[in-house]
Protein backbone atom coordinates (compact mmCIF):
# COMPACT_ATOMS: atom_id res chain seq x y z
CA UNK A 1 0.00 0.00 0.00
CA UNK A 2 1.54 3.26 -1.12
CA UNK A 3 1.71 5.84 1.62
CA UNK A 4 2.10 3.42 4.50
CA UNK A 5 5.81 4.08 4.67
CA UNK A 6 5.17 7.79 4.70
CA UNK A 7 2.86 7.48 7.67
CA UNK A 8 5.24 5.25 9.60
CA UNK A 9 7.95 7.81 8.99
CA UNK A 10 5.72 10.51 10.40
CA UNK A 11 5.13 8.32 13.41
CA UNK A 12 8.86 7.92 14.02
CA UNK A 13 9.56 11.63 13.86
CA UNK A 14 6.61 12.46 16.09
CA UNK A 15 7.78 9.92 18.65
CA UNK A 16 11.24 11.40 18.56
CA UNK A 17 9.80 14.89 18.86
CA UNK A 18 8.45 14.01 22.28
CA UNK A 19 11.20 11.54 23.10
CA UNK A 20 14.46 11.87 24.92
CA UNK A 21 17.21 13.98 23.41
CA UNK A 22 20.62 12.43 22.88
CA UNK A 23 22.86 15.45 22.63
CA UNK A 24 24.42 17.25 25.58
CA UNK A 25 24.86 20.96 26.23
CA UNK A 26 28.51 20.83 25.44
CA UNK A 27 30.49 23.48 27.27
CA UNK A 28 28.42 23.16 30.43
CA UNK A 29 28.06 19.43 30.25
CA UNK A 30 31.02 17.34 29.18
CA UNK A 31 31.09 13.69 28.38
CA UNK A 32 33.64 11.67 30.31
CA UNK A 33 36.67 10.68 28.31
CA UNK A 34 37.56 7.01 28.37
CA UNK A 35 40.66 5.88 30.15
CA UNK A 36 42.54 5.22 26.94
CA UNK A 37 41.58 8.48 25.32
CA UNK A 38 44.33 9.81 23.09
CA UNK A 39 44.05 13.52 22.80
CA UNK A 40 45.14 16.86 24.02
CA UNK A 41 48.76 17.57 24.56
CA UNK A 42 51.66 15.52 25.82
CA UNK A 43 52.10 15.68 29.53
CA UNK A 44 55.78 15.19 30.31
CA UNK A 45 57.15 14.21 33.68
CA UNK A 46 60.72 15.42 33.38
CA UNK A 47 61.74 13.65 36.55
CA UNK A 48 60.91 10.29 35.05
CA UNK A 49 62.35 11.12 31.66
CA UNK A 50 65.73 9.61 30.92
CA UNK A 51 66.15 11.66 27.76
CA UNK A 52 66.55 8.61 25.57
CA UNK A 53 64.77 10.18 22.60
CA UNK A 54 62.79 7.04 21.76
CA UNK A 55 59.57 9.02 21.63
CA UNK A 56 60.95 11.36 19.02
CA UNK A 57 62.21 8.39 17.03
CA UNK A 58 58.92 6.55 17.18
CA UNK A 59 56.97 9.53 15.93
CA UNK A 60 55.89 9.17 12.30
CA UNK A 61 55.57 12.89 11.81
CA UNK A 62 58.51 14.42 13.67
CA UNK A 63 56.24 16.07 16.18
CA UNK A 64 58.60 15.83 19.13
CA UNK A 65 61.83 17.75 19.14
CA UNK A 66 64.10 17.30 22.10
CA UNK A 67 67.63 18.23 22.97
CA UNK A 68 69.69 16.63 25.69
CA UNK A 69 72.75 17.33 27.71
CA UNK A 70 75.00 14.89 29.51
CA UNK A 71 75.95 16.00 33.01
CA UNK A 72 79.10 15.22 34.99
CA UNK A 73 77.65 11.92 36.23
CA UNK A 74 77.23 10.81 32.61
CA UNK A 75 73.52 11.08 33.04
CA UNK A 76 71.49 12.58 30.27
CA UNK A 77 69.07 15.38 30.95
CA UNK A 78 66.53 17.11 28.85
CA UNK A 79 67.34 20.63 27.88
CA UNK A 80 64.28 21.19 25.75
CA UNK A 81 61.24 19.23 24.81
CA UNK A 82 59.00 20.68 22.19
CA UNK A 83 55.75 19.03 21.16
CA UNK A 84 54.19 20.41 17.99
CA UNK A 85 50.59 19.42 18.44
CA UNK A 86 49.64 20.89 15.07
CA UNK A 87 51.42 18.03 13.35
CA UNK A 88 50.42 15.31 15.76
CA UNK A 89 48.59 12.27 14.42
CA UNK A 90 47.58 11.13 17.92
CA UNK A 91 48.79 7.64 17.15
CA UNK A 92 50.16 6.99 20.63
CA UNK A 93 53.50 5.69 19.35
CA UNK A 94 55.59 8.02 21.51
CA UNK A 95 53.82 6.96 24.67
CA UNK A 96 54.18 3.31 23.78
CA UNK A 97 57.85 3.83 23.04
CA UNK A 98 58.65 5.50 26.36
CA UNK A 99 60.52 3.05 28.62
CA UNK A 100 59.76 4.97 31.82
CA UNK A 101 56.20 6.14 31.20
CA UNK A 102 57.35 9.71 31.42
CA UNK A 103 54.82 11.00 28.92
CA UNK A 104 51.09 10.64 28.78
CA UNK A 105 48.13 12.46 27.26
CA UNK A 106 46.71 15.31 29.27
CA UNK A 107 43.30 14.43 27.74
CA UNK A 108 42.28 18.01 27.40
CA UNK A 109 40.61 17.91 24.02
CA UNK A 110 39.84 21.62 23.89
CA UNK A 111 43.08 22.49 22.20
CA UNK A 112 42.03 24.92 19.52
CA UNK A 113 44.24 27.98 19.29
CA UNK A 114 44.14 31.31 17.57
CA UNK A 115 47.65 31.09 16.18
CA UNK A 116 49.65 28.24 14.83
CA UNK A 117 52.62 29.07 17.06
CA UNK A 118 50.49 28.41 20.08
CA UNK A 119 50.18 24.81 18.97
CA UNK A 120 53.83 24.28 19.84
CA UNK A 121 54.05 23.22 23.43
CA UNK A 122 57.14 23.46 25.58
CA UNK A 123 56.46 20.38 27.65
CA UNK A 124 59.59 20.70 29.72
CA UNK A 125 58.67 24.14 31.05
CA UNK A 126 55.17 22.99 31.91
CA UNK A 127 56.52 19.95 33.65
CA UNK A 128 59.01 22.00 35.68
CA UNK A 129 56.30 24.43 36.68
CA UNK A 130 54.19 21.58 37.95
CA UNK A 131 56.92 20.00 40.05
CA UNK A 132 58.66 22.70 42.10
CA UNK A 133 62.47 22.56 42.44
CA UNK A 134 62.25 21.34 46.06
CA UNK A 135 60.37 18.28 44.99
CA UNK A 136 62.87 17.88 42.22
CA UNK A 137 65.72 17.72 44.67
CA UNK A 138 63.99 15.23 46.90
CA UNK A 139 63.26 13.11 43.85
CA UNK A 140 66.92 13.24 43.00
CA UNK A 141 67.82 12.10 46.45
CA UNK A 142 65.44 9.22 46.20
CA UNK A 143 66.94 8.28 42.89
CA UNK A 144 70.42 8.37 44.30
Amino acid sequence: MQGKGLLSGLKVTLNRFFGKKVTVHYPEEKLPMPERFRGGELDLDHQKCIACGLCAMACPNKVIELTTQTDEQKKRHLTSYRYRSGRCLYCNYCIEACPTNAIRWDKNYENSRYHRQQLDVDCLAISKKKAPPAAQDSAKEVAE
Binding site: G3, T13, E35, R36, F37, R38, L89, N92
Partner: protein, 365 residues
Amino acid sequence: MPKTQTYTLNMGPQHPSTHGVLQVVMELDGERVVQAIPQMGYLHRGIEKLAESRTYAQFIPYTDRLDYVSSMGNNLGYCQTIEKLLELDIPERAEYLRVIMAELNRIASHLIFMSSVAIDLGATTGMMFGFRDRERILDLFDMACGARLTYSYIRIGGVREDVPPEFMAATRQFLADFPEMLAEYHELLTGNEILYHRLRGSGVISGPRALEIGLTGASLRASGVDYDIRKAEPYGIYDRFDFCVPLGQTGDNWDRYRVRMEEMKESAGIVTQALDALPDGPVMAKVPKVLKPPPGDVYHRIENPRGELGFYVVSDGSVKPYRLHVRRPSFINLQALNEICQGLLIADVVAVLATLDPLMGEVDC
Protein backbone atom coordinates in the same frame (compact mmCIF):
# COMPACT_ATOMS: atom_id res chain seq x y z
CA MET B 1 13.27 20.32 -34.14
CA PRO B 2 14.37 23.22 -31.93
CA LYS B 3 18.08 23.66 -31.55
CA THR B 4 19.31 22.86 -28.06
CA GLN B 5 22.68 23.41 -26.57
CA THR B 6 24.40 21.62 -23.73
CA TYR B 7 26.05 23.47 -20.91
CA THR B 8 28.65 22.63 -18.33
CA LEU B 9 27.93 22.64 -14.63
CA ASN B 10 30.66 22.26 -12.07
CA MET B 11 29.51 20.29 -9.13
CA GLY B 12 32.09 20.68 -6.43
CA PRO B 13 34.68 20.75 -5.04
CA GLN B 14 32.59 22.94 -2.75
CA HIS B 15 29.15 21.49 -2.96
CA PRO B 16 26.88 20.16 -0.23
CA SER B 17 26.67 16.64 -1.56
CA THR B 18 29.93 15.64 -3.17
CA HIS B 19 31.16 13.89 -0.03
CA GLY B 20 34.18 16.02 0.47
CA VAL B 21 36.16 17.65 -2.25
CA LEU B 22 35.12 15.73 -5.31
CA GLN B 23 34.48 17.78 -8.38
CA VAL B 24 32.12 16.47 -11.00
CA VAL B 25 32.16 18.33 -14.28
CA MET B 26 28.75 17.72 -15.74
CA GLU B 27 27.67 18.38 -19.25
CA LEU B 28 23.95 18.91 -19.14
CA ASP B 29 21.16 19.08 -21.62
CA GLY B 30 18.52 20.85 -19.59
CA GLU B 31 18.57 18.77 -16.48
CA ARG B 32 19.68 15.61 -18.29
CA VAL B 33 23.25 14.54 -17.85
CA VAL B 34 25.24 14.03 -21.02
CA GLN B 35 28.51 13.44 -19.23
CA ALA B 36 29.66 13.51 -15.64
CA ILE B 37 33.43 13.47 -15.36
CA PRO B 38 34.86 13.19 -11.86
CA GLN B 39 37.90 15.35 -11.15
CA MET B 40 39.85 14.46 -8.08
CA GLY B 41 43.05 15.36 -6.34
CA TYR B 42 41.89 18.13 -4.06
CA LEU B 43 42.77 16.01 -1.06
CA HIS B 44 45.90 14.43 -2.45
CA ARG B 45 48.48 14.19 0.29
CA GLY B 46 50.95 11.88 -1.35
CA ILE B 47 50.52 9.12 1.17
CA GLU B 48 52.27 6.62 -1.10
CA LYS B 49 55.31 8.84 -1.22
CA LEU B 50 55.15 9.50 2.51
CA ALA B 51 55.26 5.75 3.09
CA GLU B 52 58.70 5.59 1.53
CA SER B 53 60.09 7.77 4.29
CA ARG B 54 58.32 6.09 7.20
CA THR B 55 59.13 2.80 8.87
CA TYR B 56 56.69 -0.05 8.44
CA ALA B 57 55.06 0.54 11.82
CA GLN B 58 54.99 4.28 11.42
CA PHE B 59 52.84 4.02 8.35
CA ILE B 60 49.85 2.62 10.26
CA PRO B 61 48.54 6.04 11.38
CA TYR B 62 48.58 7.12 7.75
CA THR B 63 46.34 4.24 6.73
CA ASP B 64 43.79 5.64 9.18
CA ARG B 65 43.61 8.66 6.97
CA LEU B 66 42.82 6.86 3.75
CA ASP B 67 39.25 5.74 4.20
CA TYR B 68 38.72 7.67 7.36
CA VAL B 69 35.33 6.26 8.22
CA SER B 70 36.58 2.70 8.21
CA SER B 71 40.07 3.03 9.58
CA MET B 72 39.98 -0.37 11.23
CA GLY B 73 39.68 -1.99 7.82
CA ASN B 74 42.63 0.00 6.53
CA ASN B 75 44.74 -0.91 9.55
CA LEU B 76 43.79 -4.53 9.06
CA GLY B 77 44.62 -4.57 5.38
CA TYR B 78 47.97 -2.93 5.84
CA CYS B 79 49.03 -4.99 8.84
CA GLN B 80 48.06 -8.25 7.16
CA THR B 81 50.08 -7.25 4.12
CA ILE B 82 53.19 -6.69 6.19
CA GLU B 83 52.53 -9.85 8.18
CA LYS B 84 52.30 -11.77 4.94
CA LEU B 85 55.67 -10.36 3.94
CA LEU B 86 57.15 -11.22 7.33
CA GLU B 87 55.35 -14.59 7.43
CA LEU B 88 54.18 -13.79 10.90
CA ASP B 89 51.59 -15.75 12.85
CA ILE B 90 49.02 -13.82 14.83
CA PRO B 91 47.67 -14.89 18.23
CA GLU B 92 44.14 -16.21 18.10
CA ARG B 93 42.68 -13.58 20.39
CA ALA B 94 44.11 -10.82 18.26
CA GLU B 95 42.59 -12.38 15.15
CA TYR B 96 39.17 -12.42 16.73
CA LEU B 97 39.51 -8.89 18.04
CA ARG B 98 40.49 -7.78 14.56
CA VAL B 99 37.38 -9.31 13.10
CA ILE B 100 35.20 -7.72 15.78
CA MET B 101 36.69 -4.32 15.13
CA ALA B 102 36.61 -4.58 11.36
CA GLU B 103 32.99 -5.67 11.30
CA LEU B 104 31.88 -3.05 13.81
CA ASN B 105 33.64 -0.55 11.63
CA ARG B 106 31.80 -1.88 8.61
CA ILE B 107 28.53 -1.22 10.38
CA ALA B 108 29.68 2.27 11.33
CA SER B 109 30.75 2.96 7.76
CA HIS B 110 27.48 1.73 6.32
CA LEU B 111 25.61 3.89 8.80
CA ILE B 112 27.47 6.83 7.34
CA PHE B 113 26.48 5.59 3.92
CA MET B 114 22.84 5.44 4.93
CA SER B 115 23.05 8.87 6.45
CA SER B 116 24.60 10.37 3.37
CA VAL B 117 21.99 8.78 1.13
CA ALA B 118 19.34 10.24 3.41
CA ILE B 119 20.74 13.73 3.41
CA ASP B 120 21.50 13.73 -0.28
CA LEU B 121 17.89 12.92 -0.92
CA GLY B 122 16.75 15.64 1.44
CA ALA B 123 15.81 13.53 4.45
CA THR B 124 17.79 15.40 7.05
CA THR B 125 16.31 13.59 9.99
CA GLY B 126 17.29 10.22 8.55
CA MET B 127 20.88 11.34 8.60
CA MET B 128 20.74 12.16 12.28
CA PHE B 129 19.51 8.69 13.11
CA GLY B 130 22.46 7.07 11.39
CA PHE B 131 24.91 9.32 13.13
CA ARG B 132 23.29 8.78 16.50
CA ASP B 133 23.82 5.05 16.29
CA ARG B 134 27.27 5.32 14.82
CA GLU B 135 28.22 7.18 17.98
CA ARG B 136 27.57 3.99 19.89
CA ILE B 137 30.15 2.14 17.82
CA LEU B 138 32.61 5.00 18.09
CA ASP B 139 32.19 4.85 21.85
CA LEU B 140 33.18 1.21 21.70
CA PHE B 141 36.29 2.03 19.69
CA ASP B 142 37.03 4.90 22.00
CA MET B 143 36.92 2.47 24.87
CA ALA B 144 39.24 0.01 23.14
CA CYS B 145 41.82 2.33 21.65
CA GLY B 146 41.13 5.87 22.77
CA ALA B 147 40.24 7.30 19.38
CA ARG B 148 36.97 7.78 17.58
CA LEU B 149 38.12 8.05 14.00
CA THR B 150 41.81 7.36 13.52
CA TYR B 151 42.21 4.22 15.51
CA SER B 152 45.66 2.78 14.70
CA TYR B 153 44.41 -0.09 16.80
CA ILE B 154 45.44 -3.00 14.65
CA ARG B 155 49.19 -3.29 14.63
CA ILE B 156 51.67 -5.48 12.85
CA GLY B 157 51.58 -8.71 14.82
CA GLY B 158 48.26 -8.26 16.56
CA VAL B 159 46.38 -5.42 18.11
CA ARG B 160 47.63 -2.53 20.18
CA GLU B 161 46.29 -3.70 23.49
CA ASP B 162 43.60 -5.98 24.80
CA VAL B 163 40.12 -4.53 25.02
CA PRO B 164 39.00 -3.40 28.47
CA PRO B 165 36.66 -5.80 30.30
CA GLU B 166 33.61 -3.54 29.93
CA PHE B 167 34.03 -3.59 26.14
CA MET B 168 32.42 -7.03 25.85
CA ALA B 169 29.27 -6.08 27.69
CA ALA B 170 28.97 -2.80 25.85
CA THR B 171 29.37 -4.52 22.48
CA ARG B 172 26.79 -7.11 23.33
CA GLN B 173 24.44 -4.37 24.43
CA PHE B 174 24.96 -2.61 21.13
CA LEU B 175 24.29 -5.81 19.21
CA ALA B 176 21.13 -6.35 21.21
CA ASP B 177 19.91 -2.85 20.39
CA PHE B 178 20.92 -3.01 16.76
CA PRO B 179 17.82 -4.76 15.35
CA GLU B 180 15.70 -2.05 16.91
CA MET B 181 17.77 0.62 15.22
CA LEU B 182 17.46 -1.15 11.88
CA ALA B 183 13.70 -1.31 12.37
CA GLU B 184 13.66 2.42 12.95
CA TYR B 185 15.65 3.08 9.78
CA HIS B 186 13.20 0.93 7.96
CA GLU B 187 10.23 2.90 9.23
CA LEU B 188 11.81 6.24 8.50
CA LEU B 189 13.83 5.62 5.34
CA THR B 190 13.84 2.20 3.76
CA GLY B 191 10.10 1.84 3.90
CA ASN B 192 9.52 5.35 2.65
CA GLU B 193 7.90 5.43 -0.79
CA ILE B 194 9.56 8.65 -1.85
CA LEU B 195 12.98 7.18 -1.12
CA TYR B 196 12.07 3.98 -2.91
CA HIS B 197 10.92 5.76 -6.04
CA ARG B 198 13.94 8.03 -5.97
CA LEU B 199 16.36 5.11 -5.90
CA ARG B 200 14.56 2.35 -7.76
CA GLY B 201 15.43 2.00 -11.41
CA SER B 202 17.87 4.84 -11.61
CA GLY B 203 21.63 4.57 -11.91
CA VAL B 204 21.61 1.05 -13.32
CA ILE B 205 24.80 -0.82 -14.14
CA SER B 206 24.78 -4.45 -15.20
CA GLY B 207 26.83 -7.06 -13.40
CA PRO B 208 29.34 -7.88 -16.16
CA ARG B 209 29.84 -4.22 -16.97
CA ALA B 210 30.28 -3.34 -13.30
CA LEU B 211 33.02 -5.93 -13.05
CA GLU B 212 34.69 -4.73 -16.21
CA ILE B 213 34.76 -1.17 -15.08
CA GLY B 214 36.29 -2.19 -11.77
CA LEU B 215 33.47 -1.75 -9.32
CA THR B 216 34.05 -3.76 -6.18
CA GLY B 217 32.40 -4.14 -2.83
CA ALA B 218 28.75 -3.59 -2.20
CA SER B 219 28.35 -1.60 -5.42
CA LEU B 220 29.41 -4.65 -7.43
CA ARG B 221 27.31 -7.05 -5.38
CA ALA B 222 24.29 -4.84 -5.96
CA SER B 223 24.63 -5.73 -9.63
CA GLY B 224 24.35 -9.38 -8.75
CA VAL B 225 28.02 -10.39 -8.91
CA ASP B 226 28.82 -12.65 -5.99
CA TYR B 227 32.25 -11.37 -5.09
CA ASP B 228 33.12 -10.73 -1.49
CA ILE B 229 36.77 -11.27 -0.62
CA ARG B 230 35.77 -12.45 2.82
CA LYS B 231 34.21 -15.42 1.01
CA ALA B 232 36.16 -15.64 -2.22
CA GLU B 233 39.62 -15.44 -0.73
CA PRO B 234 39.19 -15.45 3.05
CA TYR B 235 41.83 -13.50 4.86
CA GLY B 236 42.58 -13.72 8.54
CA ILE B 237 40.04 -16.02 10.12
CA TYR B 238 37.03 -15.06 8.03
CA ASP B 239 36.61 -18.65 6.89
CA ARG B 240 35.48 -19.55 10.39
CA PHE B 241 32.38 -17.40 10.37
CA ASP B 242 29.00 -18.16 9.01
CA PHE B 243 27.52 -15.28 7.10
CA CYS B 244 25.94 -14.69 3.75
CA VAL B 245 26.69 -12.17 1.08
CA PRO B 246 23.67 -10.04 0.17
CA LEU B 247 23.26 -9.61 -3.56
CA GLY B 248 21.21 -7.23 -5.63
CA GLN B 249 19.55 -8.00 -8.93
CA THR B 250 19.43 -4.97 -11.15
CA GLY B 251 22.36 -2.89 -9.95
CA ASP B 252 20.37 0.31 -9.50
CA ASN B 253 20.61 2.80 -6.67
CA TRP B 254 18.02 0.95 -4.66
CA ASP B 255 19.98 -2.30 -4.82
CA ARG B 256 23.16 -0.57 -3.78
CA TYR B 257 21.26 0.86 -0.83
CA ARG B 258 19.61 -2.41 0.13
CA VAL B 259 22.78 -4.49 -0.16
CA ARG B 260 24.54 -2.27 2.33
CA MET B 261 21.60 -2.27 4.69
CA GLU B 262 21.62 -6.07 4.60
CA GLU B 263 25.38 -6.20 5.05
CA MET B 264 25.01 -4.40 8.35
CA LYS B 265 22.90 -7.27 9.62
CA GLU B 266 25.46 -9.82 8.45
CA SER B 267 28.27 -7.88 10.07
CA ALA B 268 26.39 -7.78 13.33
CA GLY B 269 26.06 -11.55 13.04
CA ILE B 270 29.80 -11.95 12.52
CA VAL B 271 30.55 -9.79 15.55
CA THR B 272 28.23 -11.93 17.66
CA GLN B 273 29.95 -15.11 16.50
CA ALA B 274 33.37 -13.63 17.12
CA LEU B 275 32.41 -12.49 20.60
CA ASP B 276 31.13 -15.95 21.43
CA ALA B 277 34.26 -17.65 20.18
CA LEU B 278 36.75 -15.12 21.52
CA PRO B 279 39.60 -17.09 23.13
CA ASP B 280 41.86 -15.87 25.90
CA GLY B 281 45.52 -15.30 25.36
CA PRO B 282 48.00 -12.75 24.16
CA VAL B 283 47.00 -10.12 21.65
CA MET B 284 50.41 -9.44 20.19
CA ALA B 285 52.82 -11.79 18.48
CA LYS B 286 56.53 -11.58 19.11
CA VAL B 287 57.55 -8.84 16.75
CA PRO B 288 61.05 -7.41 16.64
CA LYS B 289 61.29 -3.77 17.67
CA VAL B 290 62.73 -2.86 14.30
CA LEU B 291 60.90 -4.44 11.44
CA LYS B 292 63.04 -5.44 8.50
CA PRO B 293 61.03 -7.57 6.12
CA PRO B 294 62.99 -9.65 3.63
CA PRO B 295 63.34 -8.12 0.16
CA GLY B 296 60.41 -8.90 -2.07
CA ASP B 297 56.97 -7.70 -2.89
CA VAL B 298 53.55 -8.62 -1.69
CA TYR B 299 50.00 -7.81 -2.62
CA HIS B 300 47.17 -8.39 -0.21
CA ARG B 301 43.59 -7.32 -0.40
CA ILE B 302 40.70 -7.27 1.98
CA GLU B 303 37.03 -6.47 1.77
CA ASN B 304 36.61 -2.98 3.10
CA PRO B 305 33.19 -1.36 3.42
CA ARG B 306 33.82 0.50 0.17
CA GLY B 307 35.21 -2.43 -1.77
CA GLU B 308 38.41 -4.23 -2.42
CA LEU B 309 41.22 -2.57 -0.54
CA GLY B 310 44.63 -3.77 -1.64
CA PHE B 311 48.11 -2.97 -0.45
CA TYR B 312 51.11 -3.60 -2.66
CA VAL B 313 54.35 -3.33 -0.74
CA VAL B 314 57.85 -3.67 -2.12
CA SER B 315 60.55 -4.24 0.45
CA ASP B 316 64.25 -3.81 -0.16
CA GLY B 317 65.19 -5.26 3.20
CA SER B 318 65.49 -1.94 4.96
CA VAL B 319 63.30 -0.53 7.69
CA LYS B 320 61.24 1.49 5.26
CA PRO B 321 59.11 0.26 2.37
CA TYR B 322 60.75 0.75 -1.00
CA ARG B 323 57.39 1.33 -2.62
CA LEU B 324 53.89 1.15 -1.28
CA HIS B 325 50.79 1.30 -3.39
CA VAL B 326 47.25 1.26 -2.17
CA ARG B 327 44.47 -0.02 -4.34
CA ARG B 328 41.73 2.28 -3.14
CA PRO B 329 38.25 0.99 -3.88
CA SER B 330 36.60 4.41 -3.89
CA PHE B 331 39.03 5.66 -6.48
CA ILE B 332 38.41 2.84 -8.90
CA ASN B 333 34.67 2.76 -8.19
CA LEU B 334 34.43 6.37 -9.31
CA GLN B 335 35.22 5.24 -12.84
CA ALA B 336 31.69 4.00 -13.09
CA LEU B 337 30.21 7.40 -12.28
CA ASN B 338 30.22 8.79 -15.79
CA GLU B 339 28.78 5.67 -17.28
CA ILE B 340 26.04 5.30 -14.67
CA CYS B 341 25.05 8.93 -14.76
CA GLN B 342 24.58 9.34 -18.49
CA GLY B 343 20.99 10.21 -19.28
CA LEU B 344 19.98 10.75 -15.67
CA LEU B 345 18.84 13.97 -14.03
CA ILE B 346 20.97 16.16 -11.78
CA ALA B 347 19.12 14.86 -8.76
CA ASP B 348 20.08 11.32 -9.75
CA VAL B 349 23.75 12.19 -10.01
CA VAL B 350 23.57 13.10 -6.35
CA ALA B 351 21.85 9.82 -5.60
CA VAL B 352 24.41 7.84 -7.61
CA LEU B 353 27.24 9.60 -5.83
CA ALA B 354 25.66 8.73 -2.53
CA THR B 355 25.11 5.08 -3.36
CA LEU B 356 28.53 4.60 -4.96
CA ASP B 357 29.79 5.96 -1.67
CA PRO B 358 33.21 7.28 -2.61
CA LEU B 359 35.28 8.74 0.16
CA MET B 360 37.64 11.46 -0.86
CA GLY B 361 40.32 10.65 1.67
CA GLU B 362 40.66 7.37 -0.12
CA VAL B 363 40.12 8.56 -3.67
CA ASP B 364 42.84 11.16 -3.50
CA CYS B 365 45.12 9.21 -1.21
